[in-house]
């Protein structure tokens, strides 16, 4: 079972919101395109993204994604965190690029959605 804490360690990030449902975060999808994210139906999916807007969290909320990793240290606003907390969506911020963070997750057994 892969937890939010383990993911955070893998990407060497900071947990900005740690409350999420007890899920096995076994899969990940990396995208800045929210309309692409919304086409995926996969439980236990991590969203890796360089897009740090309120719509990132909204998209996670609608598609039942409970772990969002924001790459490149993009600023996560209080408004985003408030929404994330309200819906128990874990938010991790990491300074590495999407490519590097994806590589770290992949290397450690997190599976791609496609």
């Amino acid at each position: 079972m892969v937890t939010v804490h383990q993911i955070n360690r893998l990407v060497n990030g900071i947990i900005l919101n740690g409350t999420a449902p007890d899920q096995d975060f076994s899969h990940a999808f990396a995208s800045d395109l929210m309309s692409d994210v919304l086409t995926i139906d996969k439980e236990g999916m991590i969203l890796l993204t360089g897009l740090s807007t309120l719509q990132t969290i909204r998209t996670a909320e609608m598609s039942n994604v409970y772990c969002v990793v924001v790459a490149r240290g993009k600023r996560v606003t209080n408004e985003m965190l408030k929404l994330a907390k309200e819906h128990s969506i874990a938010v991790i911020s990491c300074s590495s690029s999407m490519f590097a963070a994806s590589g770290r997750l992949y290397e450690n057994g997190i599976k791609p959605v496609y």
């Binding site: 309309s35 692409d36 807007t53 990132t56 609608m62």
Partner: protein, 136 residues
């Protein structure tokens, strides 16, 4: 049960509040999480379309014992060619919309995929109406 929401064109920070409210209500109704997810995604795509492409819209949601029926009527530029708009990848989204992570031309096909019925109609220059039904 009937609910009504106003959607403001261009208001990206507010996009999704109506869909979020509906999702909240559905969660209390003992409907399967899989169905709720489908409804939430379809509704959100439709809501974002009003925000991204129209001036303003009204969303009416009817929840019955066996289905949910949603109608969104907007005032905006409308759609010239519905068939073309329904194609995956077709988008007229502005740069601003793309910066928000949208504008891939995936929304309408995704609404279709997630719903049991979808009806899209438009009067170019006036507005667009989308009606969707999802059975529980």
């Amino acid at each position: 049960m009937e609910m009504q929401f106003h959607i403001e064109g261009g208001d990206f920070s507010g996009a999704g509040t109506a869909s979020s409210e509906v999702k909240k209500v559905l969660k209390q109704l003992n409907i399967s999480p899989m169905i709720i997810r489908r409804i939430a995604v379809a509704l959100y795509e439709a809501e974002v379309n009003v925000v991204a492409h129209a001036f303003s819209g009204e969303m009416t949601v009817n929840i019955e014992s066996d289905k949910i029926q949603i109608c969104i009527v907007d005032e905006g530029p409308g759609i010239e060619d519905i068939e073309q708009a329904m194609q995956e990848g077709f988008s007229t989204a502005s740069d601003k919309v793309r910066e928000m992570g949208f504008g891939a031309g995936m929304g309408l096909p995704n609404i279709k995929r997630n719903t049991d019925e979808m009806k899209l109609s438009s009067i170019p220059g006036k507005g667009t109406t989308i009606e969707i039904i999802v059975k529980f």
